[in-house]
């Protein structure tokens, strides 16, 4: 198990306080800085490891930044402590973005990112809660995060906790039936402390979602399953912050975050091959220039 980096936690706390107190313009700047740092870390990690899922890492980066730098009530010095919020990245293949976000908050030292997917590293290609603080459950096979989040939301209610449970799903992942089992239960149990966020980048491994096994009409489907559906530009921090507000109806919230796979690097954006392609040295240089 990696250990907490308390000095990094302190830096993260100061930044969070600054974000909380900032004007809207300044808040956008601060969050954009963090998200850019995440993307730069991801490029370095995937270059070193020679593998990874860079497209999805980039589409989810602004969502993770908003959650960990603004919305989630968490304490990296005491992960999963009573009264804190819970976060699950169900699309576990985007571990690089998650690891960078967690390390930035001090859950573990930033230098551990250099070991991404190296032999015996705690930082596997998919997150492992037994080894990585801040990881709630081991994901990787798709369709696993939401059922676990439903269990946590039920547990929060049973124990009288005001914990909110956040879970990020890939859009292609919604083709897994287990998600719809979980949604039925979440609505039936009126879990207004559960919020699922769909990283709607419209691409899955080999093709567009709509050319593979179409998800549309996604809003109507989620609403029909009992969700309070919100739609947001997944790269607009203000819109995400508003979408992540507590439920106003008596059930789960579903945020469809419209995103761009590969967001932030021109030659990767909305290109299916960047699901798990590894950039060449020239491409790394160009990516780092664009993310400067």
């Amino acid at each position: 198990m990696l250990s907490t980096d308390l000095s990094q936690v302190e830096r993260w706390r100061r930044r969070r306080a600054e974000v909380a107190a900032a004007s809207p313009d300044r808040r956008r700047e601060l969050l954009a800085d963090t998200a850019r740092r995440t993307r730069r870390n991801v490029v370095r990690m995937i270059r070193t490891a020679g593998q990874g899922h860079i497209g999805g890492d980039f589409s989810v980066a602004d969502i993770l930044t908003t959650l960990f730098s603004h919305t989630l009530r968490v304490d990296p010095a005491a992960p999963s402590a009573r009264g804190t919020d819970r976060f699950i990245l169900s699309k576990g293949h985007c571990a690089a973005s998650l690891y960078s976000t967690l390390a930035d908050a001090g859950y573990f030292p930033l230098r551990a990112l250099d070991t991404f997917m190296a032999p015996l590293s705690e930082l596997n290609g998919h997150p492992n809660r037994v080894k990585v603080p801040g990881v709630e459950t081991n994901t990787g096979p798709l369709g696993h995060g939401l059922p676990v989040a439903v269990g946590q939301a039920v547990a929060a209610r049973l124990t009288g906790s005001d914990t909110r449970v956040f879970v990020v799903l890939g859009d292609g992942e919604l083709q897994e039936g287990s998600n719809w089992e979980a949604l039925m239960a979440a609505a039936h149990l009126r879990l207004d402390n559960l919020i699922l966020i769909v990283d709607r980048n419209r691409l899955q491994q080999g093709a567009r979602t709509e050319d593979t096994n179409g998800l549309e009409p996604l809003e109507a489907r989620l609403r029909a399953f009992g969700c309070e559906v919100r739609r947001a530009d997944g790269h607009d921090f203000d819109a995400l912050i508003e979408a992540f507000l507590p439920a106003t109806e008596n059930g789960p919230v579903a945020v469809i975050a419209d995103t761009v796979k590969g967001k932030g690097v021109s030659f990767m954006e909305d290109r299916v091959e960047w699901h798990h392609k590894v950039p060449t040295e020239d491409q790394v240089e160009q990516a780092m220039r664009e993310l400067a």
Partner: protein
Amino acid sequence: MSAEAADVAASVAVPVHDNRAAFADELLRLAREDDRIVAVCNDSVGSSNLVAFREEFPDRLVNVGIAEQNMVGVGAGLASFGLIPFVCAASPFLTARSLEQIKADVAYSQHPVILCGMSPGLAYGELGPTHHSPEDLSWLRALPGIDIVVPADRRQTRQAVVAAARQPRPTFIRVGRFKVPDVTPETSTLRRGRFDVLRGGDDVTIIAAGTLVSRALVAAAALRVSGVDARVLNAAYIAPLDVDAIRAAAFETRAIVTAEEANVSGGLGAAVASVVGELPARARVPLRVLGMREFAPTGSTEFLLGYFGLTAEDLVRAAEDALSDG
């Protein structure tokens, strides 16, 4: 069967009990003492004997409906929040439909979920192979990090529930529906990762699990009449495996017979074989693995146990055959 063996058979054959009642009773008792205990089920409130639990603790019974993948994931979520979930469903659906959830959300994530495989093995008799779970031991034994408990009778079923509640860890408990006699001594305790020696003997060892334990005792009595001393081990834990007891059986007796209401592909017998096969040549004693090798035809549980060669007489024959091979 000799008169003596028949006497023993009569003494251990009646009365018989459905372990689910003991399971439900113990779970309810513990739930009164510990409010972290919750039950999760897939519409199986009745068949998992959870009606009384629901009446007393309606909020603490999470019925997710007919949705086993979500059921196991929900169990993991409850466990990750510090609760102690007993996830109850018919074993074929619990272990097959949600095997990946058991692997990733429970075993690999090390979430202390107690998976309760109700009515396992051939318990559903005439309902056929879709409703049988002779595969559950094979499937779960392939996963690191999860205990597999097969209680032999009411007492062990209660003990398994208590052990799981007191020290929660990823666990599968096979809760029998086919009625079996009490076989464990009143003073016995369930020890994690240990077989129970129910009968001493130096000629042959019979290692049996669940339903087959009482039959192993009957077989041992019959063998005694023909001058064969059979050691009977109750394999209440399949994982962790009692390697020491298997080694002792191989070094101290001349043959081993395993018997289980499960497929031979990866259950108790396969586990024993993998230990014995790696022993020094002098301890690689003849081994007979009794269990199932094909989907069951139509028949009651009792009929099918006979069909698959899992009667006391079959155990006697297997022991004699193995001994003659030595």
